[in-house]
Amino acid sequence: MALPQAKQTATEARLAALTMPDAGCTRGAREDALARVLESGLPGRRDEYWKYTQPDSLISAEALPAAVFVNDEPVLFNDLDRLKIVFVDGVFSAEESDELSLDGVKIDRIEDICCKDIHWAKDLYGVLEARGQSPVQRPLAALNTAFASDGVAIHVTGKPSKPINLIYRHASPTSDAILHHVIRVESGAEVTILESGPAASRFNKCMEIEIADKGTLHHVRAQGRDHERRAATHMFTRLGAESVYKSFTLTANGVLTRNEQVVELTGDNAVAHVAGACVGDGDFHHDDTVFITHDAVNCESRQVFKKVLRNGATGVFQGKILVKEGAQKTDGYQISQSLLLDDDSQFLAKPELEIYADDVACSHGSTSGAIDETALFYLRSRGVPVKDATNMLTLAFLAEAVDEIEDNALADEIVSRLEGWLARRS
């Protein structure tokens, strides 16, 4: 079927600005992905899935410039023992990175998986992304698979002693980065992946994660403080039996963010939690789009998303739980809430449940509200100044999402960033 003219034109314009890397064994996956892009076209304003978020600046041929933000805070996760993998404007920096070696894990650059003949990575690259195109198309992820210029393949075979931190440094105001990572967690293995930084003026990131039976992956991400940057990210995660995936994202600032999480529970007793806390002020549009498919028995999924919005900021949540036939004893929970600090800000939510099994417990809720005046007065009547009281209540609002981070040190870091953000606005 022919695409609408506007979509066709926009897609062609974007593709004309890109060159497929000369990528050996991923070439096939990339060609297939390009075919998916050509078939669906890039997202347009009229697409149902982009009803609340305008994709124009994410698909334009050139990225809009974004000033590099000079962060005066201590570097995130700096006090933690971690293995650093640094990308500057989307290009791997061996100089700034640690040596990519750590017990229990093997790390390679995507461009090396062919010459090193890393089978699992070749077999994963583009596969979960392709699966994630149905029932909803995600053309920006396909575009990523086709044109990603860098990324890492992380093979977790044991329990590495420290987290792996992908650090995305933004250095040029005109940078436009496409990164693609693949991660495989073997049976019984366990890893923590951290992501930090804005990456580029425009960032398209795709991460494909395969967690084998009894594997565990913790993911904590913070998307930097740059105000003008734009990002479209996709995380595709497939879980085996008794495996665990827990992901948390902090987004503070950023003019446009679309974070998609596509999770498939394919083995019995698997657990997937995806959470996010976002704080936006002014020219800020933040979209969490989540699709969780239960395709096995007795799995648990949780979606906990909290957004604090002020000065005309916009928050979007599209979250779906799909329970397939036979996925009995599914326990699905979804909550999305916004705290609007003024009348100019808005929260748009589309929670969805689609259930084809009869023995399931799924709940979802979405709310939007202001600071609780009664609680505020209570705090003030005890002597807490109004700004501090408001900040306390705001942090309390975000707590349910932050509590999804299991590691206390990581959670504390995230809370300190949120406190900083609030304090700068008091």
Binding site: Y378, G383, L393, L398
Partner: protein
Amino acid sequence: MLEIKNLHVQLEEEDKQILKGVDLTVEAGKVHAIMGPNGSGKSTLSYVLSGRDGYEVTEGSATLDGQDLLEMEPEERAAAGVFLAFQYPVEIPGVGNMTFLRTAVNAQRKARGEEELSAADFLKEVRGKAKTLKIDADMLKRPVNVGFSGGEKKRNEILQMAMLEPKMCIMDETDSGLDVDAMKLVAEGVNALRDEGRGFLVITHYQRLLDHIKPDVVHIMADGRIVKTGGPDLALEVENNGYADILAEVN
């Protein structure tokens, strides 16, 4: 210490007069009780003194040691020494009781130009005071008032009062919903705070709290005014005969 003169208050939202000229003076070291039928304006008085939004003072004044309370923000009033034990203590999910208490204590100290309490000193003090009120460590760790029973909430109010050491303690029906044991605990907590420099305004429906917290002066409030003032005997009179006689007498 607390001086309320001819206080007239109406609701901001609707044109409804609630306090219609309240005159009341609480001296340092004294316990004043206010009794009165439901809807007479007792809670309104306590809220107006502590600075809650939604009320408009149309006439009169309220001062604490000469400072105009009505001009101050709620947190300034707190730092100046006003404390309200709420009739309905507020649940605040996500804010730990301990964090809340420490923030409050230190905010007041800071506002008064005093040094903040160290974490260790604070902990020591709060544990000691919590113990006498039979508040266990678990309650201190939980979010403010969340999942607390009625009695626990009221004891938590008294704990806050004990930690903040206010000059002027206003207690709004702290006895309601308490069983006899809990009421004794609360009364003991209050009596421990009685001090020459501290005034109390105890709002209550029943005489029984006043058996434990002996008032110096008892006021009867009706329809937005103090209609009668007397000694502790006045509370007994209410207990025995209800409000009808007194109200008939003043009308």
